[in-house]
């Protein structure tokens, strides 16, 4: 019998019931909850007279709607100016109280983006099944967990039954061999992969990332990569557990300690694909080939290396691709033949569940140190992923580097990634953003998003246009 993939093992370990019709009942270890996709689920429980199956499996935190300016944040929930946002955050508080669910409240130092908070608190552990009503739940796969986003009906289903009805996905191995060039980060790897396989390339698959580049990556880098799995169409991305994983997890609030830690480590030693495991598909990349990436269109697959040239739709044979390109160029206000480095920027956003962890902020600060934001820029926002990331960054003095350069240092939350709070783009504005989606209107109606790594966003903030971060890093070296 062939060996098992990491996904096969996680699936097997959580299988409650395999049904004749091909569906399976899968047990859920951790359910993370935020304010946007949960109110209707709690309402559903109320209407049906149901209680949560297992209170201790749930952890809630508000993130999408919370303001990030210090003044607005100071008043807690009552201080949120947008009354619709305020009601939603208040509703999460009320529901957690009514159903007795553990919540990290708005101004707790542990509060932050749910996908930063989960691993940071040790609420996400290797070998778990982790779900949340948010597509970027794939992030948690970086710890060797089976983690994916769900809709609100499934949020209610998990609350009520601690299980999900699932169909098993196919296995896709994405192998990144060799080493990354200096200045090239996990975000660039993610974008380069999506550029090649497309935003539907992973549809129907669970992705496992492996290879020397992944083994050399920090946990923060791995989380960025798994976070972007959904932008490649895969609900889940995951990485085998190794020493890097264990070092990250040990000592965190909800992680085991003492004898339990040893027992857990022994169990987690199996969380890798067997040498003879069979994948339905394998795609290989060479780390050395990956350049810093910049997206130019309205789908993450519309991406180029920083030295790239905006494509000409007239040269495209595929009609759907041609019309999508024409539409994207029109929306983005770009012309075929233009250099990526000629795109002038209005705002820069460093943050989101993709790139708001301490390593991301360090990478951005390293580029910004001793420099000034371009005078043509309207705003450069730095939004840490959690209160703990913020405290760590401040302990290292990173906030002073950002502030001295003319950037804004904010309170934690999802912020301009999806602009549900006050942080948004104006129509026609170009933004270098470390977030995950460059969809039309995502960061504000008419806003023009370019996805990049934190180092590339920082370099763009200094130059006022895109620039290969490696040229700045050479000067400072």
């Amino acid at each position: 019998m062939a060996g098992l993939t990491l996904y096969d093992k996680l699936w097997r370990n959580h299988l409650v019931d395999q049904r004749e019709d091909g569906s399976a009942l899968i047990y859920i270890d951790r359910h993370l909850i935020h304010e946007v996709t949960s109110p209707q689920a709690f309402e559903g429980l109320r209407l049906a007279g149901r209680r949560p199956w297992r209170l201790g499996a749930n952890l809630a935190v508000p993130d999408h709607n919370v303001p990030t300016s210090r003044e607005e944040r100071a008043g807690g929930i009552a201080g949120i100016l947008d009354q619709v946002s305020r009601l939603q955050v208040q509703t999460l508080d009320d529901n957690c109280r009514d159903f007795d669910i553990e919540e990290i409240p708005i101004n707790d130092v542990r509060q932050g983006i749910v996908h930063v908070v989960g691993p940071e608190q040790g609420a996400t552990l290797p070998g778990m099944t982790v779900v949340c009503g948010d597509s970027h739940t794939s992030t948690h796969g970086a710890l060797g967990a089976l983690a994916h986003g769900i809709g609100t009906s499934e949020v209610e289903h998990v609350l009520a039954t601690q299980c999900l009805i699932q169909q098993k996905m196919k296995n896709l191995l994405i192998q990144v061999d060799g080493q990354l060039q200096r200045g090239v980060t996990s975000k660039d790897v993610a974008l380069a992969i999506i550029g090649q396989i497309g935003t539907a390339g992973g549809t129907g698959y669970a992705i496992e990332f492996a290879g020397e580049v992944i083994r050399d990556m920090s946990m923060e880098g791995r989380m960025t990569l798994c976070n972007m799995s959904i932008e490649a169409g895969a609900r889940m991305g995951m990485i085998a557990v190794d020493q890097t994983t264990l070092e990250y997890v040990e000592g965190r609030t909800f992680a085991p300690s003492g004898a339990l830690w040893d027992a857990a480590c022994a169990a987690w030693a199996d969380l890798h694909s067997d040498a003879d495991a069979v994948f339905d598909q394998t795609i290989t990349f060479r780390g050395e080939d990956i350049m810093p990436q910049v997206t130019w269109g309205n789908s993450p697959e519309m991406v180029l290396p920083v030295n790239g040239i905006i494509p000409d739709p007239e040269a495209m044979e595929n009609a759907t691709q041609r019309s999508a390109t024409i539409r994207a160029l029109h929306y983005m206000g770009l012309k075929p033949g233009m250099a990526i480095t000629d795109i002038q920027l209005d705002r820069v956003f460093i943050g989101s569940c993709t790139n708001s962890r301490i390593e991301d902020l360090r990478a951005a600060a390293e580029v910004v140190r001793g420099r000034q934001v371009a005078s043509t820029l309207k705003q450069a926002l730095v939004v840490p992923g959690s209160g703990q990331v913020k405290a760590q960054a401040e302990a290292e003095g990173l906030h002073e580097i950002f502030l001295a350069a003319g950037m804004e240092w904010r309170e934690p939350g999802c912020s301009m990634c999806l602009a549900m709070n006050a942080d948004k783009l104006g129509s026609g504005e170009h933004c270098a953003s470390t977030s995950n989606r460059n969809f039309e209107g995502r960061q504000g109606i008419g806003g023009r998003t370019h996805l990049v790594s934190p180092a590339m966003a920082a370099a763009a903030a200094i130059a006022g246009h895109f620039v290969d971060v490696r040229t700045l890093q050479e000067h400072s070296a």
Partner: protein, 219 residues
């Protein structure tokens, strides 16, 4: 949940690839704590010329005359014909809620994003995957013939045209049964409560570090 058996209805086009859930229902409407009333804001940024706000009366807003759903010929449509990777992006269930609230009960496309596809079944909407050539043919027919209608039969797994042409489609058995009967998923799963408890007891013994962590749990 509404059941879905056979639908005979007017077809409307969404003729672009990679329609994401941000397009289907923009973020400002996600602030609602209700699960109904999203229909007037379906495709909001494409459908109207101004910026929509939650709770606003949409009947007074300026319509984008170029957007197909604003054309007289597509009023009352219940079938949406779309291109590849429909519903990509965010997991927001507000997307199928908006489609359903508007009146769509079926979306036909060459491919769907996984989470959206799954969310449709929880809301009485049937997502049908047809080959790209078939979808292209339907688009052509739809543009030529005003009042173009299709019949979608879930039991038989068929899409039928007025001329009697039949396209078969696949759908997995579990989702099909739930949709045909309009079953409450949670009720069905709770029939396995004993199996879930049994699993939980074994799993707790095997992985005790997963329990009593966020809070002390009752056994």
């Amino acid at each position: 949940m509404k059941s879905f058996t056979v639908l005979e209805g007017l077809v409307a086009p969404m003729d672009r690839a990679n329609v994401d859930t941000d397009m289907i229902i923009p973020k400002q409407f996600l602030k609602s704590i209700k699960r109904s009333g999203f229909g007037p804001n379906l495709f909001d940024e494409m459908r109207y010329l101004d910026e929509g706000q939650p709770g606003e009366d949409c009947t007074q807003r300026p319509l984008n005359p170029e957007f197909p759903l604003n054309h007289a010929r597509y009023q009352g449509a219940s079938v949406l014909l779309a291109r590849e990777n429909f519903g990509c992006g965010s997991s927001r269930e507000h997307a199928p809620w908006a489609l359903e609230d508007y009146g769509f009960r079926c979306v036909i496309a060459p491919s769907f994003a996984d989470i959206f596809y799954n969310n449709c079944f929880k809301n009485g909407i049937l997502p049908v995957v047809l080959p790209e050539a078939a979808v292209e043919q339907l688009f052509q027919a739809l543009y030529v013939e005003e009042g173009y209608r299709l019949e979608i039969d879930l039991e038989q797994q068929e899409v039928r045209t007025g001329e009697g042409q039949v396209f078969g489609f696949s759908v997995d058995a579990a989702r099909k049964q739930c949709l045909l009967k309009g079953l409450d998923d949670i009720g069905v799963t709770l029939e396995s409560a004993a199996a879930i408890r049994q699993f939980e007891t074994r799993w707790r013994a095997q992985s005790p570090w997963l329990f009593d962590v966020i809070r002390k749990e009752q056994r």
